[in-house]
Symmetry: C2
Subunit: 118 residues, 2 copies
Amino acid sequence: MARVATTTDAFNAVAEPRRRQILDVLAGGERPVTDLVTELGLAQPQVSKHLKVLREVGLVDVREQGRQRVYRLNGRPLQPIHDWVRQYERTWNERFDSLDELLEELKEKEKRDENSGE
Amino acid sequence: MARVATTTDAFNAVAEPRRRQILDVLAGGERPVTDLVTELGLAQPQVSKHLKVLREVGLVDVREQGRQRVYRLNGRPLQPIHDWVRQYERTWNERFDSLDELLEELKEKEKRDENSGE
DNA sequence: TTGATATATTCCTATATGGGTATATAATCC
DNA sequence: GGATTATATACCCATATAGGAATATATCAA
């Protein structure tokens, strides 16, 4: 098998830097494709193809307006990424003071002790 | 060109679900490869290859212990992902009450107005 | 109708990948 | 030393990219 499809989930869709750029632009408000083309300095077909991927994972919505397709950001599919990464925040952040994180720490220690006794 | 290399950054390394699984296990404390093999139910060479990718982006560190290689999580490379995704939190979260986010909102509106007048 | 503009789709190609399998390497035990 | 255990690497293969280029499709303008 090859790599997981880019359209599998937001994790994969967003791994491509161009697609993150597109979302970053759309974060500033909805845009027709041509705007994205000029702002990204990418060829039009490539932009359309990236938009297709983003559409398939639900990260953007389209609205037809004359001959233009206006794309709008929909961040919801990013939430699973946020949730997953957030669990690791304490691994790079010194301060972990909430009760929640303290409990996480304890669970970690438990598992570590279990494991070292083999 | 093909897809961006998995070893380019944490975004790409972590897009593969198996590698997220590995990190999830390592979040419970450092582990030798064999433990990961049994916990993931994956073949040993595959695990080693995934670990190599994770090593190359700095998401894990290794420590030699006899004939074992004990892998340990290093979450720091995840921070850019966290930072990027966090900017989109308001797109799925109803409550955005901080001044910071309010300013973001205003900037957004500005750009949107600029854009609609064309 | 003809032409121009906006966007999507198709075809091409090079490339990296992920799993499978076999093997290399190294440490440990007898 | 020889056997076993732990891990990494090499090789093969099917596959899905991402960009490039050309073209299809649709809408608007004159």
